[in-house]
Amino acid sequence: MSTNLLRLILLFITLSITSSLSTPSPADSPPYLWPLPAEFSFGNETLSVDPTVTLIVAGNGGGSLIIRAAFDRYMGIIFKHASGRGSLLSRIRFLKMVEYDITSLKIVVHSDSEELQLGVDESYTLMVSKKNEQSIVGAATIEANTVYGALRGLETFSQLCAFDYITKSVQIYKAPWYIQDKPRFGYRGLLIDTSRHYLPIDVIKQIIESMSFAKLNVLHWHIVDEQSFPLETPTYPNLWKGAYSRWERYTVEDASEIVRFAKMRGINVMAEVDVPGHAESWGTGYPDLWPSLSCREPLDVTKNFTFDVISGILADMRKIFPFELFHLGGDEVNTDCWKNTTHVKEWLQGRNFTTKDAYKYFVLRAQQIAISKNWTPVNWEETFSSFGKDLDPRTVIQNWLVSDICQKAVAKGFRCIFSNQGYWYLDHLDVPWEEVYNTEPLNGIEDPSLQKLVIGGEVCMWGETADTSVVLQTIWPRAAAAAERMWSTREAVSKGNITLTALPRLHYFRCLLNNRGVPAAPVDNFYARRPPLGPGSCYAQ
């Protein structure tokens, strides 16, 4: 590199630093990364990123289409301004002045396996440095064991990049960067509910895309409930009659497309059929599944047909959902209908069952069906609190109701997912971000071997009052608070005053979501999804 050019670059950097003094810019501030990486260090240089930055891949998994597609997605995000990637005008203008500091992004992926399962290695390292005597080209390098680790690294890289309005170029502040990152929990979920309100495919894709920005990695799809049955089930086609209307449905192919779309972003889809207590809509197509026409829930425990249908649904779903976890629900089972329906009552008497015995019988039989399809069953916590010792030992317990249930479940050797409703139910609109953020899945669990059984947590976007028009702003930004809790080190999220350590970054992340077209609601409002209180900067609301 010639000294003249170096001088030019220095002048250029000085100019941009000087001009940034008049208006605040990320250059003056802490690293605006969300969720905060496990380890990172940074310097004090500002680097420009070439709009035509090239992708260089290496390693056994470098050639993956998942990487190529993600690179293209992120280039669209990073260079979305008119003078960005593809704008000939700006390219010519800048080529005359300077060379860019970052001209390539190297992605090294060691494994060629694209299998996406619970606990897949999501670690990565990211280095961004300027050209110097040692390296001829200035570059950013992401190194990961799996393609999914590389995806997380790309997200972090995109958050380092900021469009600078003075130079009209994309800059990376505070370089050189060295980031070594991995998640604290392997399961970082978000529940959506397509039974209370149908969510169009396009909206589900928007949700999945937004999850990848916060490094969430499981979409828990509560597909069916008592209100509607939107998914096609080829083995029992009449189940589809339980959809709200003929428009509000998913075909098998639609569901597969959602799974594929999610996988491209490193996100697993965990399907749920919530039996026996949340399944009234099944009977619209098969009334035999109801105890009686006038008493329709829970599913009729007495009939083999009930379990045949469950088996059919699970067989069909197995072809769609490759994730090893499958959710069988099992919550809020009100067994009055069983007591009040003559043929069910007789059946109970014949077996000398209480209604609670029958509830257990139902859940365990459904578990065996799931296990026979090579699935690990997940059940809501009532199954554990009602008959925990009888559950299959492979069961993953999902908490929602009682705050210390994970503590109890892991003590019995079960794995657990934390979703405490007081803090991580997104339909509870009166929980501000701080409370979401401060909720710790490992609370009260000290033994490291037991801590390992808490596979992670999940924020739940129940759909009673959330449809297409409000679902994204009810999810964001609060889901991001939980996402950092689950990704970043416990130390990083537990120390210090979060008003200083987290809030400015969360403001920034919420605006980043907005800039990417995600309608994340203001951070500072006490109630979720409320409009901004008055005019103002996104970064101050």
Binding site: T23, W247, E248, G463, L472, N514, P531, S537, C538
Partner: protein
Amino acid sequence: MRGRGAKIAGVLPLFMLFIAGRISAFEDIERLRIWPLPAQVSHGGRRMYLSGDFKLVTEGSKYGDTSGILKEGFDRMLGVVRLSHVISGDRNSSGSGGSALLQGLHVIISSSTDELEYGADESYKLVVPSPEKPSYAQLEAKSVYGALHGLQTFSQLCHFNLKKKVIEILMTPWNIIDQPRFSYRGLLIDTSRHYLPLPVIKNVIDSMTYAKLNVLHWHIVDTQSFPLEIPSYPKLWNGAYSSSQRYTFEDAAEIVNYARRRGIHVLAEIDVPGHALSWGKGYPALWPSKNCQEPLDVSSDFTFKVIDGILSDFSKIFKFKFVHLGGDEVNTTCWSATPRIAQWLKKHRMSEKEAYQYFVLRAQKIALSHGYEIINWEETFINFGSKLNPKTVVHNWLNTGLVENVTASGLRCIVSNQEFWYLDHIDAPWQGFYANEPFQNITDKKQQSLVLGGEVCMWGEHIDASDIEQTIWPRAAAAAERLWTPYAKLAKNPNNVTTRLAHFRCLLNQRGVAAAPLVGGGRVVPFEPGSCLAQ
């Protein structure tokens, strides 16, 4: 607008050849699920399917589509028809055989230009044949922008059949002749009270096309922030909320281009002198004084130089024939309270009100010098209507009866009366948006011709990227039908169109637009589980 009826009548006999004889009854209209309702519709009762490689053909079209506007519009149309569904079905096994298969759309455009001109012909004719007839649907239009409207209508005829997993059109054959009632069908967005990121503005533009709105009124700057780059006066940009809540000049050009390719004009506004405090962040000389910062300093030539610089820059990117100069809510107290300006007023023997008039008229002249016609908010008309340049369009918002007075005086008018068409009034229900008639109390044809149309206004005090779509939709759609559909076809009682509007709202949802439920005022959330169609 006027005189178009005769043209359509002229082509009608030719068109009649296609009509299969089943003219639907008026009551049938609400079952059509088309929004906004076309001027003339007839249909049959047969089902057809779209071929897997549904094609665009343009034989006989004078329009060359070198810019790709038609092709892109066609591809977008197919995209929203598929709604992300996987099209996997075998159409030929549907039992109807190949004859029910629609191979493509034949688009014939008679004008070769893709210049987006205000008031130009937006009409189109759409014919979907019966299963026995040739295998292409036909769309005829004068201009490519009329054809884009036709594509929107076509997209609403198509449905994804979830059982057969193919795209179908029911009730064929279809014969539709359509044109807008008003040439100005606007939506205001406000990027000063809250910055709206580029993808959000683009989403708003896309959603406008679904309802056939055609003017995006961009209230760029106001008291609170100045997000747009002005090359002639670069420090104006210092008035942005932050270093990143900004639009470059190229961004604005890109928005204009994005809108143009969808047949939408962008009306840029600077609201002078009363809504311009943020200008002074970069140029404090524009304020009367440091502690009295609004309206802009009327006494200084520099003020008008800056306006001239802004409008000169505007003229390079905002190609719409109109520019909006605001002029509303001018509190002139600062002028008298600032000694320097008070002296100037005295010297020129002007009252505050006269200075207000002087300011607006001088700004008008500057706009005219850059080739623009002017739009001003109604206070300018109320205060000194007779002095306004005859090319002025008066933009109503405050007073009922204003439209009558403006048109009686010979000026043109845009209707946005706040009690019905201000979207930030979230207690205003969609029924009011639907029922608001621009010709209220105006019977004189000449006066009617001066009403260019109307606009719904999405003021941004409580609107940011998180809630803009659901505050705009579905209520803007109710106004859009009022502005598009012939008066005689509009429902006298808005509640008669509830089902069709609910369907359009669900269609917006399916297309990824966060349109709110109908039940209630604006931006309501669903109060319980239920079908989209019922909420």
